[in-house]
Amino acid sequence: MNIYFDLFLTFAKVGVCTFGGGYAMLPILQREVVEKKGWATDEELTDYFAVGQCTPGIIAVNTATFIGYKYKGIPGGVLATLGVVFPSLIIITAIAAFLSNFADIPVVQHALAGINAAVVALIAASVMKLGKSTLKNGAAIAVFLCVLALAVFGRLANFDTGAYGALGTALDMLTSPAVLIVLAGVVGFLLYGGRKGGEGK
């Protein structure tokens, strides 16, 4: 099969299988792109999510562009991205045209509740797989725990409601994914940047 067509089709498959935000596509990416096609490794996926997290654009699209570009340059990046949005175009257009009450249909709601429960399990399994390749030493585990605690704390506390004043605004920024990623990059630089290569591998 033509490589570009293969890229498009694979990412269209990823698009169809994703329910929810960009994170929900991770288990599908691991299966299709890492295990089946070998276009990226688990480590590279975490890199793409990290960069996608703090660059403009939604994560799902950023990740698709990244993988496509790495595999086949600019045409690859464009085709992977077009592939990931293609199913949305068809499905959403059909639903908007014929079934605008789609989300209110009881069967849809029940099925979606089931899907969401499965997606939680899929993400958990994916994170455990990623952790195997990204959490190999004490420093990495420490960074993981700190970021996890801050991110969860930030989501639960809802600092952006204004109820906490200026301190709330500061805490809201500190616990935002983009800022946490940048801070972790600085920590990585401080920990490993000054030494000769090969650390932590």
Partner: protein, 187 residues
């Protein structure tokens, strides 16, 4: 012209919304108010549909808004608008990273990023888990109750895909099975 405008309005969303699909919502609210293309009530429907259909949520929202505003060409242009900034920015960054792949500094930075990225994915998973597996509030404030059917299904899927031969199945098989179970047992 509406098509050009749709493209650029969504390119703006793609450029300024950083993160997952939910990050696009404030920008869409603002767009609705400025352009009059859709009301806040319309937006609520669009969010519900985007969440309950396949495809990344942010992309679904762009397609939906584009279609409601200007039909199929609108859907295509809004979606292309949303992804154009990503394509440009990521290609520049990916090119840069490829060039400096051998650099020890870039390598050191990514050593720090990887555990953080893993943690953010875990945190996102936890927040989905919280909204799907437990009910907060209810009759009294500060109470929470497990939604047992969802908890059991989630645990079953997790065990099946990690510890049984079923782990060879494609993840979408579990999603499809969960959809059927949810529909049959009225989750």
């Amino acid at each position: 012209m509406i098509f050009v405008r749709l493209f650029f309005e969504f390119a703006k969303v793609g450029l300024f919304a950083v993160g997952g699909g939910l990050a696009t919502i404030p920008f869409l609210q603002d767009m609705g108010v400025r352009t009059g293309w859709f009301t806040n009530a319309d937006l609520t429907t669009m969010i519900a549909v985007s969440e309950s259909t396949p495809g990344p949520m942010g992309v679904n929202m762009a397609t939906y808004v584009g279609f409601q505003t200007a039909g199929l060409p609108g859907a295509v242009l809004a979606t292309l608008g949303l992804v154009t900034p990503s394509i440009l920015v990521i290609i520049i960054i990916a090119g840069f990273l490829q060039k400096f792949r051998q650099s020890k500094t870039v390598d050191a930075v990514f050593q720090g990023l990887r555990p953080a990225s893993t943690a953010l994915i875990a945190a996102a998973g936890l927040s989905v888990a919280l909204s799907v597996l437990v009910t907060v509030g209810g009759t009294a404030e500060h109470t929470f109750a497990f939604r047992w059917p969802a908890v059991i299904l989630c645990a079953a899927v997790f065990v099946c895909m990690r510890y049984t031969p079923l782990k060879k199945l494609h993840p979408v098989a579990f999603i499809a099975a969960a959809a059927v179970i949810g529909a049959v047992f009225q989750f």
